[in-house]
């Protein structure tokens, strides 16, 4: 059997509840594994807690999913949103909380999502993020990964290297939103921690879609 190119494989894949859970579990695992690295990134341009915040949120979400019957995508994303909202404790709490609430809404009444519906889900998350945080592209926040990634996803199936490049591209930016904005020019030259945790979310997505 000839090997299908990754792009084709990605495009043909549907996301059901099992795949969505794999996606989320992989993200939670990565947030835990990279806890110190994410906090390290938050040190020079923030308060050094992004890894602690996200690992706390990931574990709360894992516990909430284990405690409860999860019959569908809507319940999955809503449960995660509520756990992040109640446990993260930093700006990333209401931001990821709003993103996952939007995921829940976008996936309501769907048993599976095809490529276009996954794109719609991601776009709903991006819109919720931007209306919650009121940041635009170029302000050195996770918006700088969400916006170009959703554009790439619409246009061609991006690779994990593409995601890494988007995260890396936050380095030269000067922060004008979030805690890092207090640093002005001194925020230049550091990767934005929230963009890194968002990069993990997207790479985990590409992994499950390509599996």
């Amino acid at each position: 059997m000839p090997l299908m190119p990754p792009l084709k494989r990605l495009r043909g894949k549907r996301m059901d509840l099992g795949l969505a859970r794999q996606w989320m579990d992989a993200w939670f695992e990565q947030l835990n594994a990279q806890k110190s690295y994410l906090s390290e990134l938050d040190n020079p341009i923030g308060d050094g807690d992004h890894g602690i915040n996200m690992a706390r949120g990931a574990n709360a979400a894992k516990d909430a999913l284990a405690d409860k019957e999860i019959p569908d995508l809507n319940t999955l994303f809503k449960t995660i949103a509520m756990a992040l909202l109640s446990k993260v404790g930093g700006a990333s709490g209401p931001l990821y909380g709003s993103i996952f609430l939007a995921f829940a809404k976008a996936s309501a009444n769907h048993d599976t999502l095809d490529y276009a519906q996954i794109l719609a889900l991601l776009n709903a998350g991006k819109d919720a993020l931007m209306s919650r945080g009121k940041a635009e592209v170029g302000e050195k926040t996770m918006v700088d990964v969400w916006v170009p990634f959703t554009e790439q996803f619409a246009d061609h199936a991006p690779s994990k290297d593409d995601v890494d490049a988007l995260v890396e591209a936050t380095k030269p930016l000067k922060a004008t939103k979030g805690r890092a904005a207090y640093l002005g020019d001194r925020s230049i030259g550091h990767i934005d921690p929230g963009s890194m945790s968002t990069g993990y979310l997207f790479k985990a997505l590409l992994d499950v879609l390509d599996s």
Binding site: D47, G90, P94
Partner: protein, 121 residues
């Protein structure tokens, strides 16, 4: 009824400001939330919701410190059945002004006017 809600990343900061205000205006309901349930620094939607619900006031002047406090407050504002007035005023001065004016029965317009020059956010 009108009241004050203080939202800080730090439990001590929130409690300290509450004590300071209580000293001056004992009859205005002043509620506060600071830090996470573990005592760590931060704010969450859940804890702000709890504090806002606990107040007997149905109209709350809210004073807060850093970024995530505001975003969580806006989420509470969207879901809670009370009027939350998020003030961009400096937390200590703003809460002081609002508490004394509420206690003196000033109307909201007068309060807003006094708060305006204290805006920093």
């Amino acid at each position: 009824m009108r009241g004050i809600l203080i939202v800080s990343h730090s439990a001590k900061l929130a409690e300290g400001l509450h004590d300071l205000l209580q000293e001056i205006v004992s009859q205005v309901p002043i509620h506060y939330v600071g830090g996470l349930e573990t005592g760590e620094i931060g704010t969450t939607y859940d804890r702000i919701m709890e504090a806002a619900e606990a107040s007997p006031a149905d109209e709350l002047y809210v004073f807060y410190d850093l970024g995530s406090a505001k975003m969580n407050l806006e989420m509470v504002q969207e879901t809670l059945d009370k009027t939350l007035i998020l003030s961009p005023a400096a937390m200590v001065e703003g809460a002081f002004v609002a508490a004394t004016l509420i206690s003196a029965n000033a109307d909201n317009k007068a309060i807003e006017k006094q708060l305006k020059p204290l805006g920093i956010k």
